[in-house]
């Protein structure tokens, strides 16, 4: 397992853990993203137990562990943060950014080392080694307290579960034909995204951003035109199917 590069500049780079291994796919592969600057690094959605040692091994190929100063958790699901107590042991001086709404849930991890920084509902930003990263509210998409991370320099939006395709073959990194990809994402978005109002509000805000890559938690990433195609499709989708 290794980290594949998504973006590279003088200031920083974006990488994702490639998980083509069948062992990981059986549990619904989680795309884990890693932002690396000269002095500091950040891991997004640290993931489930099965990904801990592969991710740690991959990170150590790029940086020393004491430079991993930041963890970001978009929401509270087990595939997103089940490894928190293990990371708490591995890194002694890091900050965990996660929705403030989940602070009383995070307390149950009984963390010794990680410093928890709750993100207020309106969002905020993370300064990582001089690189400014925006924390974009995406509440009810799907979680009640949900954030995404936008990097204006790299033009990457880590979109958490928006755009996600569960248990799909990651034979290519990016969506190639969006019309064929719809069958991979339609049921998931109808069922897991509870609110049309939240969805429309998010789309209106995201359309204002310059996005080259939309990077979800699961499945293929969207690049260039595919991003707009996804947003237009999502805009028309009627979500919250279980309540109808």
């Amino acid at each position: 397992m290794k980290l594949a590069e998504l973006y590279k500049a003088k200031t920083h780079s974006w990488m994702m853990l490639e998980c083509n291994g069948s062992a990981i796919n059986t549990q619904g592969c989680v795309n884990q993203y890693f932002v690396h600057t000269q002095h500091e690094s950040m891991l997004m959605d640290p993931g489930g137990i099965e990904l801990f040692s592969p991710m740690l091994a991959a990170i150590l190929q790029h940086t020393e562990l004491d430079k991993l100063t930041t963890l970001f958790a978009s929401h509270q699901d087990p595939d997103i943060i089940a490894t928190l107590s293990l990371w708490d042991k591995a890194i002694s001086n890091a900050t965990l950014y996660a929705p403030a709404l989940w602070d009383r849930f995070i307390e149950h991890f009984d963390l010794d080392n990680l410093h928890f920084e709750g993100i207020n509902d309106e969002g905020g930003e993370i300064q990582l080694g001089g690189v400014r990263l925006r924390l974009l509210p995406a509440h009810y998409l799907h979680s009640a307290g949900n954030f995404q991370l936008y990097d204006p320099a790299a033009k990457i939006l880590m979109s958490a579960n928006v755009g996600a395709a569960i248990k799909t073959q990651n034979d290519a990194k990016y969506v190639e034909d969006f019309s064929k990809h719809i069958k991979e994402i339609e049921q998931f978005h109808k069922r897991w995204m509870p609110s049309n109002q939240a969805k429309s509000n998010w789309i209106a805000r995201v359309k204002e951003l310059d996005i080259n890559i939309l990077a979800p938690n699961h499945g293929k990433l969207y690049q260039g035109e595919q991003v707009q195609e996804f947003l237009e499709w999502f805009d028309k989708l009627d979500v919250g199917s279980a309540a109808k």
Binding site: S53, P54, L60, L65, S85, L86
Partner: protein, 205 residues
């Protein structure tokens, strides 16, 4: 020494700690009942007057050892929170050690080796801390065991004194029976706990 990466064993040991602590409740309940019995027996002995003269010092003894048992059990209850934390720390550091073992098999580097050694050290420290707390617990249970030996002796003595108490003989006889039965219950719980502690300490050694 326990196979550190064996999650099942680690969790089994955590359950063992939980069982030891659960047993405390029955010890404490019986000790409180003993204390109450001593107070009732004192009232009966007073009413019996000269007929139960030999019973009065016995009630003082009952009071004394039931208080000691309550004190020991309360100290154990205080320890039990620490014990849970220490057992939990051991579970966590064992899980972390297990992950570091996987990492070491995937990647060879000085940093990985250092993390592995750190995890091993932390796991051993957690095991040693739990072992130390168990040893303290063992001492408290041994104290209770001694107190229960006294209780059994007093139950026999009080039975003899009860036969001389005339009309109050039956009431005092039931006090003696209760002391014997409570001491037996407490002893059984303590023997079970000491055996569990012994097993746990063996595993952690």
């Amino acid at each position: 020494m326990m196979t550190l990466s064996d999650d099942t064993k680690v969790v089994e040991n955590f359950v063992r700690v939980a069982q030891i602590i659960a047993n405390l409740e029955s010890i404490l309940t019986q000790a409180k009942n003993l204390s109450l019995t001593a107070k009732n027996a004192r009232v009966v002995a007073l009413r019996a007057g000269d007929a139960a003269l030999g019973f009065k010092p016995i009630t003082n003894f009952i009071d004394e050892f039931s208080e000691q048992t309550i004190n020991s059990t309360t100290k154990i209850a205080d320890l039990s929170n620490q014990l849970f934390n220490k057992a939990l720390k051991l579970v966590r550091s064992s899980q972390y050690y297990h992950q570091m073992t996987i990492l070491k098999s995937q990647m060879k580097s000085t940093q990985v080796e250092s993390m592995y050694q750190q995890a091993l050290k932390s796991q051993r420290r957690a095991a040693s801390q739990l072992s130390h707390a168990l040893s303290e617990l063992e001492n408290h249970f041994e104290d209770i065991q001694k107190q229960m030996q006294s209780a059994e002796y007093i139950a026999v003595t009080s039975r003899v004194e009860a036969t001389n108490a005339g009309d109050f003989s039956d009431s005092l006889q039931s006090v003696s029976d209760f002391i014997a039965s409570a001491a037996k219950t407490i002893k059984t719980a303590v023997v079970y706990n000491l055996s569990e502690i012994h097993t746990l300490r063996g595993v952690l050694r």
